[in-house]
Amino acid sequence: MASKFTVSNRTGWLMAGPAVLLIAGFVILPFFLAIAFSFTNQRLVSPNPTEWVGLANYRQLLGVTTLTLEPVRDDSGAVVLKDGAPEYPSLRTITRNNPDRPDLAGMREWFSFSLGGDSRTYVLARDVVFMKAIVNTFIFVLVVAPVQAGLALGLALLINQRLRGINVFRAIYFMPVVVSIVVVSLLWRLIYDGQSGLLNNLLGAVSFGLIPRVDWLGNPSTALGAIIAMSIWQAVGFHMVIWLSGLQTISPTLYEAAAIEGASKWQVFRYITWPGLRNTAVLILIVITMQAFGLFAQIDVMTNGGPLDSTQTIVFQAVERGYGKQDISGGSAISVILFVIVLSISLIQRWLTREKS
């Protein structure tokens, strides 16, 4: 209710002004600059004037095409075999200096597959590393979001019991959250070490030496998984606390009623707890997804994107270009792509979890 005593344009501006200006200058402006730079060839320091280049940055990053090749045949028409597999013409002869296909210039093989028959389909990308970064980031998000949310809910239910000393356990489970992810990453580098890592020693001990030693971060097939496990370990306590505050908003009378009705534990969870956590669930899913797409520090400290680009991520690529190579326009284009992905996914999540009437 605006009474004449609480109306004051001057006070409103004076008090909200600093915050509004700071956010306009350091969040909103750079956000629009990212969009603008992504259509230019802007560099951090450059003697040449900045020029508009249209969609060139996006074409460079996202250019993907397929190419189906027939195997090499000898004079009689039989397929030439090399090491028991059909031999295909070298991709380089097709993508380089080829007047028939100038659109393929600069493209490299991302992966290839065969749909039966002798021919083989190659998927070519203009920026293979960025494609891998997108795939890795999606794998990270698709694993971390459900697993971390689920484990956090399990922990919250566990910690929500009435037991003596339960607060001590809550404090312990939350501890890694206050430790910097940079510190955690460096610490876990030693735990994951291939030679004297704690994890290898532990696995060796429980399996009586049956499980061979693995260089967890040095192996392309385990590096991303190792980073996923550590990231969940560090952040799960954060979401446990949010679930817990959701659990505590559920009215105890509902539980009392269920106890009188003789409901089983599963029924109580299914029909009282879970419906009561609906809003919390939506919030947690969106927050974890947004955080997971920002994956950077773990990569920078533990693997630098390797081995064999198996841990490249979108933000790591943005920083490598925008800061490492001082290519602001390329880094900005990646930032815009990331924002579009995050926005679409949170809109989809909101739509999927909307209240159905």
Partner: protein
């Protein structure tokens, strides 16, 4: 019969505690390992990681890794920079964001709803997506100092502080909290002739202890743990905070003893602070989840 039931209950209770303890071990072992390792020579540290000695202060225990860490890198300077940047940002953030929250909830002015919704919309912009253009922006910003106008904010304290003073989440938390305060109190004070500043200073701030603690803790965690931004904007050692200072320790031949000493040095004070104010820390995280 009664005794059997009692036994069962005791057993189930023990099983519950066993599960709780097992999970606690998973969360704590890396941190114990870190602190214990920081006291051991690198050679022994690596040998000990093969058995339970990794978690015990045994063998050749000393603080020599800590002294070596100070030799290897300007650790004192890193710590000073982190404390300065974090402290100043937290204080300015509390001032600016609480004032904004006050204006959005209690004062009626033109543009109030519009600006509030614009601010809240920035909640969905992850910092990672604006870091790169922000880097170019701050590299070209002017600053009025004692030596006149200079251009470029790179390698300074202000570049680590100013962009983080105001953020949508902190303002949102203040707005939520102020909405629950009795608005009639503020209107009554206005009728009595109190100035807006007096109301902010004498009525609202004294009632805001919990939210100030929450906002301070959240900002502290974000600022002290910053990595990506200071990495990009502080090429000069003199302005680098502790997390970026880590880079001095993970070069080709990692001296793990020194690394663990440095990690413990920058982590244990925060953990101690957390354990001391545990309830406030957890309440502050929980408050980020309470919204419709």
């Amino acid at each position: 019969m009664a005794m059997i039931a009692d036994d069962n209950r005791g057993l189930r209770l023990a099983a519950r505690y066993a599960v709780l303890v097992l999970i606690a071990v998973i969360f704590v072992f890396p941190l114990v390992f870190m602190v214990m390792s920081s006291l051991k020579p690198t050679q022994q540290l690596l040998e000990d990681s093969g058995n339970l000695r990794a978690f015990l202060p045994v063998g050749d225990i000393s603080l020599s890794n800590y002294f070596a860490a100070f030799q290897r890198a300007p650790v004192a300077s890193f710590v000073f920079n982190s404390v300065l940047v974090t402290g100043v940002t937290v204080i300015l953030s509390l001032l600016v964001c609480s004032a904004a929250g006050f204006a959005f909830v209690f004062v009626h002015w033109k543009g109030r709803e519009l600006f509030l919704s614009i601010l809240l919309a920035t909640l969905i912009v992850p910092f990672e997506t604006i870091a790169i253009p922000l880097l170019l922006m701050v590299a070209n910003l002017p600053w009025l100092g004692p030596e006149g106008v200079t251009w470029g904010w790179l390698n300074s304290y202000r570049v680590q502080i100013v962009p983080f003073i105001a953020d949508a989440l902190t303002i949102f938390l203040f707005v939520q909290y102020f909405k629950d305060l009795p608005g009639e109190l503020i209107e009554a004070a206005r009728v009595e002739g109190a100035s807006w500043f007096q109301i902010y200073r004498r009525i609202v701030m004294p009632l805001s202890g919990p939210i100030l603690a929450t906002a301070a803790i959240l900002k502290f965690l974000v600022m002290y743990n910053q990595y990506l931004w200071p990495l990009m904007v502080t090429q000069e050692e003199g302005y680098r905070p502790v997390m970026v200072g880590l880079q001095y320790f993970f070069q080709l031949n990692v001296a793990w003893g020194e690394v663990m000493a440095y990690l413990s040095l920058i982590t244990v004070p925060v953990l101690a602070f957390y354990l001391y104010l545990q309830k406030a820390f957890i309440a502050s995280i929980a408050s980020t989840g309470v919204k419709g």
